[in-house]
Amino acid sequence: MATAAVSTEQRENYLNAEYGIRSWLLTTDHKRIALLYLISITFFFFVGGFFALLIRLELLTPAGDLVLADTYNKLFTMHGQVMVFFFLIPSIPATLGNFLVPLMVGAKDLAFPRINLLSWYLYIAGGLLMLFCILTGGVDTGWTFYTPFSTGFSNTNVAEAGLAIFINGFSSILTGLNFVVTIHRMRAPGMTWSRLPLFLWSTYATSIIFLLGTPVIAITLLLVVLERTFNLGIFDPTRGGDPVLFQHLFWFYSHPAVYIMILPSMGVISEIVPCFSRKRVFGYKAVALSSIAIAVFGFLVWAHHMFVAGISLYAALVFSILSYLVALPSAIKVFNWTATMYKGSISFSTPMLYAFGFIGLFTVGGLTGLFLAALGIDVHVHDTYFVIAHFHYIMVGGALMGYLGGLHFWWPKITGRMYPEAWGRLSALIVFIGFNLTFFPQFILGYLGMPRRYWQYPPEFQVLNVFSTAGASVLAVGYILPMIYLLWSLRYGKPAGNNPWGAAGLEWTTQSPPTTFNFDETPEVTWEAYNYDQIPMPEEVTLER
């Protein structure tokens, strides 16, 4: 395999097939579009991260002394909007998903390559409008846009932000459409549903949510813009509207959106754990079907964000019990990943460290979700830092760890280069420590009663806030490091070879980086997924590079 790596190095691939800016901006190659997305979402990640850093610095002291109250409100609003809509939601699907879906099913490209490019342009259009919104004064509604504050009281760029997210939503819808059609129609001969990599099951479930959920947020935000601009009485109670109706509509999308963020990461973990355990994933069917179950049940739990909003007692009961049902498939996945390691042959490369981190943090995030689904406890901790800590454990500890793990796992395939393994492991460790230091204290803060979105706070909450801010700076280091060494590896990294991890899956049978049309001839699949008994792991994986 090592000799193959050297000989393929000179071959044409999707990166050197064409040169020039036009060849990138007009490309229909799913792999190039994935890279366009990778660059764009990385930009927005650091924008959102910058806002987060300012938030944590403000909260270092109880008094509101670093920025003005209005500025602070804009910071947490734009942190949420940028991170959720312009980073987390597109993160894995638009980068790794775009890159891997055709490779994994054994196809030359996605079903609709030009629509795929269109979806990136829609993302960019939405992103530019969001940047315009930020640079011309920002928006201060909270990422949740709650009415009637957003429609009748805020005097910031609400309409711009709403339209930016509206436009960006179409990018999600088109990506979802492309994945669903590709997975249904373009699987190589022999690639049956029961042989699909679990990453594709996750991506498929995510795409369903993209298709069914995103139109609802689009319409909801459009209604906000219309009420704000034309004084319609949809949500404003003084004009006969209902402000709580907005919350139902908003969460009907935004709760499933949490699964848009976490499902693809679960898919990544389901690829990494078998590879570095050298085993078929334990309970393939259970893991695959639990992705679908999450997507389905995820649509039926939205009002658990509204237990203190004034909904009826009995509605609250129904949404509480359904929230416990949606927790089950997640628990099943964690148990199956753990069981996959049993009697495996486990090595601790960077992606596997991220997978360990994911399982740990996601477990904490999931278990604290049980607190919030318990009606009697949610009343106390709703809208406090307990909620902040919980969803960051899921969305940063879970989704982002999965994203970074996946990025490291497939980086050799995407770029043809290895990153420095020692730096990779170090940064995984730093992210894990920094994350816990940042967000664990917030659970306690929340139960003590510190409300979220507070610019100033009573002094007794300071000690825990100092821990949190200290953790955030550690976390920042953990995010900047990969940025540096991954870029470094583009030029100086060791050539990766086709399959540096000895991983199963069609994508590893192509050269690294793949050619424009992925496969020289259409592959025919005659083996089950995760056939790790038939693939040796290269000796050097466990040896220090």
Partner: protein, 326 residues
Amino acid sequence: MFENLPLWPARASTMAGNVDLLYIFLVLLTLFTCAAIFITLIVFAAKYRRRHGREAHQIEGSVLLEIAWTVVPLGIFMLIFAWGAVIYFQERVPPKDVAEIYVVGKQWMWKLQHVEGQREINELHVPADRDIKLIMTSQDVIHSFFVPEFRIKQDVVPGRYTTLWFRATHAGTYHLFCSQYCGTLHSGMVGQIVVMEPAQYQTWLTTGGGFGSLAANGASLFAQLGCQTCHRSDMQGRAPMLNGVYGNPVTLEDGRTVIADDNYIRESIVNPAAKVVSGFKPIMPVFQGLLNEEQLNELVAYVKSLNPPPPGSVNAPDMAAAETKP
């Protein structure tokens, strides 16, 4: 340093202990589950780490295990669900004999109206060992009334009443936070709940008043707005008689029956055409925007005061008859 780092706020209401008990149970469950999973991971990682001459042992899965780790968590989840639901019902359903206080949230302060006439801003005095019900609304955006030491919280929504009840157990001063983001000084929309011994509270009620009771203010507002020209007390008016209406069912034009609770009375003032009583014409002017929330509270308190003292259910049939009369 760490003696000042408590894990929960002081327990100052009858609800606090119930909530904390479930919380502590869940914390222990979380610790146990995390320990089980993390220890398993660490043991597997150590025991099955990659070594020369040892291959991974391929295992397909186990239906029995899948069933076990579906059913066992489901059972535990249902237990937590039921436990949480019981506490929620305690939190949401106020006891019968409960003292009422009106709350109006606005950007960025809390205005509180005691039935006896006292008014306060960002500070609420209440007696210990008495069931208190807050009848809350907002005059602008959504706020949320949160008292961590009581473990209670309820959004305060414009255009309607929401309620919250508690029974304070210990005299003292506690945080009042707005927990629903409401604009610039959201974090400044804070105050305190001053819980007093009942005797001291009585003294407090009688000092510094001078506003007149809420219902009395409502009565004069009622007269001032000319409401009594139609809402006469002799059943001859062009509008329903209000005596004894509160808390009882009324039949509407479209045949529905609703309970004339705080929200119904409030809505019938600001938007009278929404639910017209059967047999009457929608002739009442709209008061949306003409009355502020405090005035609405006074009018609602006045309508409530028109009920005969309990037991007041005896005249309910009469009222129903009066309302259906053309």
